[in-house]
Subunit: 414 residues, 2 copies
């Protein structure tokens, strides 16, 4: 017989379509373990946990858990909260340990991106330092796909599928008129071009489409851009331009947001957006009047109705694997995906030291971008194509996805 | 035995997700008639037909026709072209009749919105005037739902479903943080609020959500708007604001586009957009900083991947019925939908004089908007709910919808 203890799961950062699949996987795996008694949820990530905002997941009717599995947006809520270094300020860490003790928590799973992995790193190190026994594992999620030491991150495949589908629909729409249209699509992804590049995945379906893709990995040169667009417009008429929200010029100024470059979010990242407007205006003034600009905004990270099945299943698998590794004694690690091959696509999980992952950004390899810096190479297609495969049958009711906000189905612990 | 003659089908105006269902329905019905020999397609609407841009639809492999049925964007291309009055300029009409004679066309079906119905009216009247025998029938389509004398128009239900689903996803996403978010969603629909109102259809799924909806039917009063938002923000925190691109102030100036109010498209309609930016700025400056604005733009009319089954099937039915009525001898008419009841929803087709329909706009009844002018009443829900029901199983291939641009599968007639 084992001595049973409890586990805690929380979510952090910007949500993805499949962030709840990882939660679902972790809950399911934890609930079948003989070592784990109760499964707790931390509401609003680390920020909420410090405040004692904890729920007992087994209190939630299973019907709601199933519904949550197919819902976008972090079911346990999220935060953008950065723990200070414990050498500077130990207060929050003490509160955390108090909570862990109160609920007899020996396993803590944190589903999130770059900054969440920083929390995993700090908490696991602090616990080791003070001799508190706990296994802390990070479960990756980010539509930006910018986490290091994992082939890709859950959330990316679904966002990529949504962006490619939208590209396809917009490009077809533009082709109905004799009058030509220049489409401008602004895509998320901060400093990594993965999502923006995904717009290229329409290539097989629309081989005739002239696409120009501008990624943050390549400094944006306005003159060269105008040459590209002008040439493409003259040769093809219809042109589809996809730009990353994080485009920067040679000096590192965000395009279209020079005046706002110092407006930061809680993690200290500049808040982006506005590139689309800038590019739209530029093309209209310098090249051609009929420009249609689409800024998908947050829809890219919550379009569960178009989730990729591969992504959905991998997210769940990583949730499960994280629990297995924690039970095996691992801590201060992030669970990761290792691609075995592309055709047919197979993947396995591994585990990496989280301090190698956090506070870094994985960008598109420069040799996956063409020489002109305005499109991607075959390597990118091989990489991204498997990740958008398959559809998730989201339950529907009365014409709309049967989503839930778990918040309204849970009771807080006293 | 009948003497066989040919029919011509064309599409016009802004596409919808299901405009090709009507085309498919018309093709299928025409191809089973003993009176019809060949089915021709007019490329790029009236504008292309005048130039002799005609294809033989039976030349297209049936596999492509099936694929087209599930593709957004007008498969035969579209135009924004307004015929002059034939008393003023008969030239174009003579060319049209020439084409009709050359291809022995006795039936002409025009799938489109308000302005396309104007063409149906003018062509049928001209033909009658000069004694040329042809049956001209209009098949309604518009996401704006602003056509008179039909309960609703194909295209609306699918766009409404897309907008409601996006509202649902964005609202859930905003709820993950403790920090509150004011969402601003800019929706199409020119001078009619139907589409913007559809954002309200999330009510049953998110009963706790505070929504404010501003329609072009109610003059926009900035002071009252700020009061509404301020009150909602103080009471609820998260607020979801949906605004129509066609919002106007009491003097008839488009909100956020005062400087551009005279920028017109080819039909003489002002080109809209910019409301979302204006509202975002206003709320940020006067009420609360964390505002997320989404402008879906053209995606609203081409998101076939989320089409409503009711809409899809009605669009096809109207295509078929138009052919039946034409064969029965009708001309100068628009096929229309008559709702029989809401629960269970049933609908039948009828036919109306097209001159009653064209150049008018059906707006939201004022008593379907609440007294405060910032939300809809139960009547709207009863009306719109049935129209977003059911899903269309769009064929998928390699992770993306298996759409086609028919243009690349057809040969032009000499």
């Amino acid at each position: 017989m084992y001595t049973k203890s409890n586990c805690l799961i929380a979510q952090s950062g910007g949500p993805t379509a499949v962030i709840n699949s990882s939660l679902y996987g972790a809950i399911m795996e934890a609930s079948r373990s003989e070592k784990i008694d109760k499964v707790y949820g931390g509401i609003n990530g680390i920020e909420g946990i410090i405040k004692g905002n904890i729920i007992d997941i087994f209190d939630i009717p299973y019907e709601r858990i199933k519904q949550m599995r197919f819902s976008p947006a972090a079911a346990l809520g999220s935060c953008r909260y950065r723990l200070k270094d414990y050498l500077e300020d130990e207060e929050e860490y003490k509160k955390l340990i108090e909570i862990f003790k109160k609920y007899n928590i020996k396993y803590f799973f944190y589903i999130g991106g770059n900054d969440s992995m920083d929390a995993v790193d700090k908490i696991s190190k602090y616990a080791r330092e003070i001799g508190f026994e706990i296994n802390v594992i990070g479960i990756p999620k980010t539509i930006d796909n910018d986490l290091m030491f994992t082939d890709h991150s859950p959330g990316f495949g679904s966002a990529a599928k949504y962006i490619a589908t939208t590209t396809l629909e917009l490009a077809l729409d533009a082709e109905v008129y004799e009058t030509k249209t220049i489409n401008v699509l602004e895509v998320m992804g901060r400093n990594a071009g993965w999502l923006t590049a995904s717009s290229a995945l329409v290539k097989e379906r629309l081989p005739h489409l002239k696409q120009l893709i501008y990624l943050p990995e390549i400094p944006f040169n306005e003159e060269r851009f105008l040459e590209d667009v002008n040439k493409a417009y003259k040769e093809y008429g219809n042109v589809f331009i996809t730009v990353s929200e994080g485009l920067m010029d040679e000096k590192g100024n965000y395009i279209g947001r020079k005046e706002n470059a110092y407006h930061k979010d809680a993690f200290g990242h500049p808040q982006l957006g506005g590139v689309g407007d800038y590019i739209e205006k530029l093309v209209k003034e310098k090249i051609y009047k009929r420009v249609k600009m689409t800024r998908l905004g947050v829809t890219q990270r919550c379009a569960m109705h178009l989730a990729s099945k591969v992504d959905f299943e991998e997210a769940e698998m990583l949730g499960k694997e994280a629990v297995k590794y924690a039970l095996f004694g691992e801590t201060g690690k992030m669970i990761s995906l290792v691609r075995e091959r592309n055709y047919p696509y197979t993947v396995k999980t591994d585990i990496v030291d989280v301090d190698k992952v956090c506070n870094k950004e994985k960008k598109m390899p420069l040799n996956w971008i063409n020489e002109e810096g305005n499109y991607v190479t075959e390597e990118f297609f091989d990489y991204a194509r498997p990740l958008i495969q398959g559809e998730v049958k989201v339950p529907m009711a009365e014409g709309l996805p049967y989503y839930i906000n778990l918040k309204y189905a849970i009771k807080k612990q006293e």
